[in-house]
Symmetry: C2
Subunit: 200 residues, 2 copies
């Protein structure tokens, strides 16, 4: 038998579990690797978590990969309220910050206070990009759509008139988190340009 | 500069990363919590990984939650080849085992051998259900669709003529991994029956 406070905890956890199902309906800009449709935030979060496991050895020595996975699981939850922001739209990116803070205040608070604090801390760390874990997580978050665009003949790059120069600025974030994945990403950009899938 | 063997490793990792994108196109039976569409395996994998983080305290003391998360991230990868099996179809469940072994042989082998062995071990552990980690992971894998069906007025239960007795057998798997979540799941089943969303 659970005591009353334990039941309250469980009910708070259930409310949060029901709420975050909405992440499956937040649609991103990039396509799946077969180009069939745009990706949603939930499957993207799974995918980048898997990338953390696969590319663990490309993180700086000593990086806590399990923390990176946890960070990537929660990194987009704020988009349930704030929506997805296209990284190549600087005006939207600036306006987004405030909306995401408000979203974090509301969504994490559905959990019992101790758990809310733990997940909020993970998200804050991801956003601040000061730890190797956060920088590696951010690198993977940027690497995934680059890989998808490369595998779909440029994917949404031509559609949104993204240039190689813009993508290369983005590659710098990958390099900051993982020099080897950053180098590979730069190769992909050059290859996409040479194939005519990304304009210079 | 990477040496040739390191490049081979990276290329194997990239092949695997490209391959597993297909999990986003494997469609499950259950609906999203808003009933708008059926769920895919990739977003389901994210969701149950999140449940492991949220419901960690409902696992037996000493359970390695980070291993549970990792297990849930990879638990459905074999369905890229073998497809999703409806848990209430016993014939399909039996035929599935062989197909999933073959799928595991092919898909994990895309990775460098040491990584392939590590992920295969995680998947074998999940399937064998002998450790507390595997049993808790399995409990969450069964808890998620029950929660979704409960929140969508029975969801796919009436459509596939699933009875309360069948769902209760399934609840036993939840109880084996987490007595408290199992008890809560049983409450949900009774509630669904009393509301006429699940037939006895």
């Amino acid at each position: 038998m659970t005591t009353v406070p334990e039941k309250d905890r469980l009910h708070a956890q259930i409310s949060f579990a029901v709420e975050i199902d909405k992440l499956k309906r937040i649609i991103r800009r990039n396509l799946l690797m077969d180009g069939s449709r745009r990706e949603n935030d939930a499957e993207h979060s799974w995918y980048v978590g898997m990338l953390a496991m696969i590319f663990a050895e490309h993180a700086p020595p000593g990086t806590d990969i399990q923390r990176v996975v946890a960070m990537l699981m929660v990194h987009d939850l704020v988009e349930i309220d704030a929506g997805d922001t296209f990284i190549y739209d600087p005006v939207a990116v600036a306006a987004q910050a405030e909306a995401e803070q408000a979203a974090a205040d509301r969504i994490f608070a559905l959990l019992p206070a101790d758990q809310a604090a733990g997940l909020r801390e993970l998200w804050n760390e991801f956003e601040a990009r000061r730890t190797p874990e956060a920088r590696f997580a951010r690198a993977l978050d940027r690497f995934a759509p680059l890989l998808a665009n490369h595998h779909t003949e440029g994917g949404t790059w031509p559609l949104f008139k993204v240039t190689a120069e813009q993508v290369k600025r983005n590659v710098r974030l990958i390099q900051e988190g993982s020099p080897s994945l950053g180098a590979y990403a730069l190769d992909l950009v050059e290859l996409s340009v040479s194939r005519g899938h990304l304009s210079e």
